[in-house]
């Protein structure tokens, strides 16, 4: 407790650490809400009939409403995460254009990336007696907006990749730059979710969901660790960052 108070007052990197912890907290809550609480992930089947969709809403009724309510309360935590990533680009030897364009893109990312799904599925769960055909429309709207609108994440990954590969300040390792490319490619793979209702390329498909989520999980884990290393190594200069070993000695 005393040490937390000391860091709060004196740690020169306190703003960065707060943003980093906000990121970690966000992803933990996100996981808990989307997987066990709402059962919105892994996604239910896109090929269901109206009656099956209505049954799904009825079964996860309370979980959907409570879980997404939590997301509405905490979705603002995405702002520190995006700010921290933008900051990593600001620390690089590249133009500020990279940091700013990333910031602009990701400021809007929560809407297609999550909030539309949360609102629409909440409305579906709100009235159990709603016409199943309408529930089905809400269901399609929710999952397609969530899975199918990956432009931000595609272009965002590419912007971050380019900044990392061009950077001479060693802010992020180059392999992580290439990993951004791998992640960007999986954001393309979800596009067929707009076309198929059965098979491996649907919004819950073996390829466009299961393999993609594995890549995304690795990518997210990697960037959270790399942002942590960046904060540890930060020297508030504008030249190359020291290595982790030098910085933590």
């Amino acid at each position: 407790m005393r040490s937390i108070a000391w860091h709060w007052r004196n740690n020169p990197k306190r703003e960065l650490w707060l943003a980093w912890y906000a990121t970690v907290v966000f992803y933990n809550i996100f996981f808990i809400v989307f997987f066990p609480v709402t059962h919105a992930q892994p996604p239910p089947h896109p090929g269901w009939s109206d009656a099956q969709v209505a049954y799904w809403f009825a079964r996860s009724h309370g979980g959907l409403l409570a879980g997404f309510a939590i997301m509405f309360a905490i979705a603002g935590l995405t702002a520190p995460q995006n700010a921290l990533i933008a900051y990593s680009m600001r620390r690089m030897s590249v133009s500020r254009a990279f940091a700013y364009s990333y910031l602009v893109m990701y400021s809007l990312s929560a809407l297609p990336g999550m909030l539309l799904l949360c609102v629409v599925l909440s409305v579906g769960a709100l009235r159990p007696g709603r016409d199943p055909a309408q529930l089905h429309w809400l269901y399609d709207f929710g999952f397609l907006s969530f899975t199918g609108t990956m432009g931000i994440f595609l272009i965002g990954s590419l912007v971050w990749m380019l900044a990392i590969l061009l950077d001479k300040n060693r802010v992020m390792p180059k392999w992580f730059g290439y990993l951004n490319l791998c992640n960007a490619l999986t954001e393309v793979v979800v596009a067929p979710a707009w076309i198929f209702r059965t098979g491996v390329l649907t919004w819950n498909g073996l390829i466009s969901w299961w393999i993609n989520i594995a890549v995304f999980g690795i990518y997210t884990g990697a960037f959270i660790m790399q942002l942590r290393n960046l904060i540890l190594r930060e020297d508030f200069g504008d030249g190359p960052l020291p290595s982790l070993a030098e910085a933590t000695r």
Binding site: W175, Y178, L179, L185, V189, F196, V200, L201, I207
Partner: protein, 188 residues
């Protein structure tokens, strides 16, 4: 930069970081292939009937184009390492042309298939076929960027970074590697 005289040291060509991409993408594609093969053997009748609608000459030609482009990419790296800029540039250009020929042949094959009534949504086999060849095509397009980077480096002559040249070359060979696997699995 790698020493170009005497016995070469055992060094990873290009940035070791690129190998993260190579090995990672190889894993991702292996996962795609595994899903494909599983469904293929479970519905072999449909898959084999659809596969028969592919012209194996396209696949074979594309593979030869890709392999040859890799050969010239290797020559480009060797020439650049030896300081023969002009030869390296020529090889890079040929690599790009072979890649373009591959792309043109690929698009021709797609158009032929679609006109023949076999599109992305026609059946399960063609879903995989267009998905795998499509995502590979995307890798090919990124490969052209890599060739562009090599050309820019070579134009800087003495100030070129052999490391960047080799990194981009490694990427190009990955495109080749993935195609070889796709060819073997989709056509046979």
């Amino acid at each position: 930069m790698t020493a170009n005289t005497g016995k070469p040291a055992r060094a990873i060509p290009g940035q070791p970081d690129m190998w993260v991409l190579v090995l990672f993408e190889a894993l991702v594609f292996t996962a795609y292939f595994a899903v494909y093969l599983f469904h293929r053997s479970a519905h072999s009748e449909l898959f084999l009937r659809s596969q028969a609608r592919l012209d194996p000459r396209f696949g074979t030609l594309n593979t030869l184009l890709m392999l040859t482009s890799s050969l010239f990419m290797l020559r480009c790296v060797q020439a650049s390492r030896a300081g023969a800029i002009r030869a390296a540039m020529t090889s890079a250009l040929i690599t790009g042309l072979l890649g373009t020929a591959f792309g043109v042949s690929k698009i021709t094959e797609w158009i032929r298939l679609v006109h023949g009534g076999s599109g992305f949504t026609s059946n399960e086999f063609f879903e995989y076929y267009f998905f795998l060849t499509g995502i590979h095509f995307l890798h090919l397009l990124i490969g052209f960027v890599a060739i562009g980077v090599i050309a820019c480096q070579l134009r800087r002559r003495e100030r070129r970074s052999q490391e960047v040249v080799e990194t981009c070359a490694t990427y190009w060979h990955t495109v080749d590697l993935l195609w070889v696997l796709i060819f073997s699995l989709l056509t046979w």
